[in-house]
């Protein structure tokens, strides 16, 4: 179905009755070549690139709820490539390049807005660390500009620069960073996969994974058994439960991360701003709401809603950084379940079971990874070997201690990221 200004006008005149669903609602077939467990951003993009890049279309994506109901529709939509360590650098760089061509590729408006991201720093030591990170980004071929205090003031005049605890020394500016409309990303990939023949099956919870002689043979679901030659587990916050069906324990703990949005306001925050010392970040949605968040609640949870102490902490950080925000009214808050890995970096790998793949450990940064994660998992499933830019996302790195990617430098241990 085509979208155009003319079409919107026409549908408006006829009561919006002409729009049709953009993907099918198929019955599950008894057998597929490939079954993907989880219809979030990563599962959908995996199906899309399997079809588009590798010509594989006998695929089902099984989703226990509805498309877009997981974290892909709950995040704060930041898209960036400002990583530091080999492994993450090339992967997120590749992802940002895919983002930059995504709307053309999907022929779908995902409202990708490269409005620029500024990470603030508040001491000489932090400036040095950010200069080093900026150099790593430039080495990777991405963009980074080290701003001094006056440089930040030009972009963000509304900040409190003279806060006595965290005076602003400057910021690392990533002009190609920004945001995208999260639901549209899920819908765009869903439409793209469906139109290439992939079956998207909603309200279909996987309840078991069938393994015979060390080889995966299919899955059990609430809509009956489905045979498959290859199965990919792409369940984000629920990765632990899904992997348990295959007798696996993962290096993952699930934690709740909260987010907040205010009433719609006129444009006032033009960038994505992050205030790491206060555990706070913010951007303004195209609808006008200020979208912001902070850190994890910091204890394992599947509740998808958070506690008051973290809400209080986030509000305090907001007031510290930009006192003007005190005039805005918070409309709502919500939480999502994060698959936290010990080193804070993800996993895209085979498992010990032949034909069974795992994609997890996205922590709080998996939205920007949606294009490259699907691209690389599709490559792994189709060719049997990892894609170059995801070659370090190994499942066994924790056991061997080789190739850990601890961006924050806090130690490769649970509950530290």
């Amino acid at each position: 179905m085509g979208y155009s200004g003319f079409r919107i006008l026409k549908e408006g005149l006829f009561g919006q009755k002409g729009w049709k669903p953009v993907w099918r609602d198929p019955q599950p077939k008894p057998e597929y070549d490939i079954v993907i467990i989880g219809g979030g951003g990563h599962g959908l993009s995996t199906a899309y690139y399997l079809a588009k890049n590798h010509g594989l279309t006998n695929i089902a994506v099984l989703e226990r709820g509805y498309i877009g109901g997981g974290n892909v529709g709950r995040n704060t939509t930041i898209v960036r490539a400002n990583y530091f360590l080999p492994g993450n650098s090339e992967f997120y760089s590749h992802s940002l390049k895919l983002w930059e061509g995504l709307e053309q590729d999907l022929n779908y408006n995902v409202m990708h807005s490269q409005r620029g991201l500024i990470n603030l720093f508040h001491s000489d030591g932090q400036r040095d660390a950010f200069a080093r990170r900026g150099n790593a980004m430039i080495n990777q071929g991405d963009d980074a500009v080290l701003l001094d205090r006056e440089g930040v003031r030009k972009h963000l005049p509304y900040l409190d620069f003279d806060n006595t605890r965290f005076p602003i020394y400057g910021g690392l500016y990533h002009p190609r960073g920004g945001t995208a409309r999260h639901d549209a990303v899920a819908w765009g990939y869903a439409r793209g996969a469906d139109s290439r023949g992939v079956d998207l099956i909603q309200n279909c919870e996987v309840t078991g994974i069938d393994i015979q002689g060390g080889k995966v043979t299919g899955v059990q679901t609430t809509r009956g058994p489905i045979r498959a030659r290859k199965v990919a587990m792409v369940a984000a916050g629920r990765s632990g439960q899904v992997a348990a069906m295959a007798g696996m324990r993962l290096p993952v703990e699930s934690h709740v991360l909260q987010a907040f949005v205010t009433e719609g306001l006129k444009p006032c925050i033009d960038h994505v701003v992050s205030f790491g010392m206060g555990h706070f970040y913010i951007s303004q949605s195209d609808k006008g709401g200020l979208v912001f968040g902070g850190d994890l609640d910091f204890y394992s949870s599947y509740a998808a809603r958070g506690n008051l102490p973290m809400k209080e902490h986030v509000m305090e950080a907001a007031m510290t950084l930009m006192p003007m925000i005190g005039k805005a009214r918070v409309l709502r808050s919500w939480g999502g379940i994060m698959d936290m890995s010990p080193d804070g970096s993800p996993i895209i790998d085979k498992t010990d079971t032949e034909g069974l793949f795992v994609n997890c450990g996205w922590n709080y940064g998996g939205f920007k990874a949606v294009p490259a994660s699907g691209y690389c998992l599709a490559h792994l499933i189709a060719t049997g070997s990892p894609h170059d830019v995801a070659a370090r996302f190994r499942l066994d790195r924790f056991r061997t201690g080789r190739g850990l990617m601890d961006e924050e430098g806090t130690g490769s241990q649970h509950n530290l990221h």
């Binding site: 629920r238 632990g240 439960q241 348990a244 324990r249 993962l250 290096p251 993952v252 703990e253 699930s254 910091f298 204890y299 394992s300 949870s301 599947y302 509740a303 506690n307 102490p309 010990p342 924790f398 056991r399 061997t400 241990q413 649970h414 509950n415």
Partner: protein, 87 residues
């Protein structure tokens, strides 16, 4: 969320520091090998439902506690001093 410390009574979550899964109390022998140590340090059951984890009463009596709670509802079932649980 509130935890009832056996020594101090019912207190706000802000007073406690979270110490992760209570399997931390079952430390393998130093020479147990990398599989056992990987299990201990990295791999988790990560249950959606009943769990046992460690909390430190930072803003109170300074006792490590084993808390039995539900990760889906945040309901607390039982709080025991870790010294009574660990052998």
């Amino acid at each position: 969320m509130r935890l009832t410390c056996p020594l101090c009574g019912e207190r706000d979550r802000r007073e406690f520091y979270y110490g992760g899964d209570a399997m931390a109390l079952e430390r393998p022998a130093p020479d147990a090998g990398d599989v056992a140590w990987n299990d201990y340090v990295h791999l988790r059951d990560n249950p959606a439902g009943a769990t046992r984890d460690l909390w430190y009463h930072d803003g109170g009596c300074g006792t490590w506690l084993v808390v039995e709670r539900d990760t889906l509802t945040h309901a607390i079932a039982k709080v025991t001093p870790a010294s009574e649980v660990a052998r």
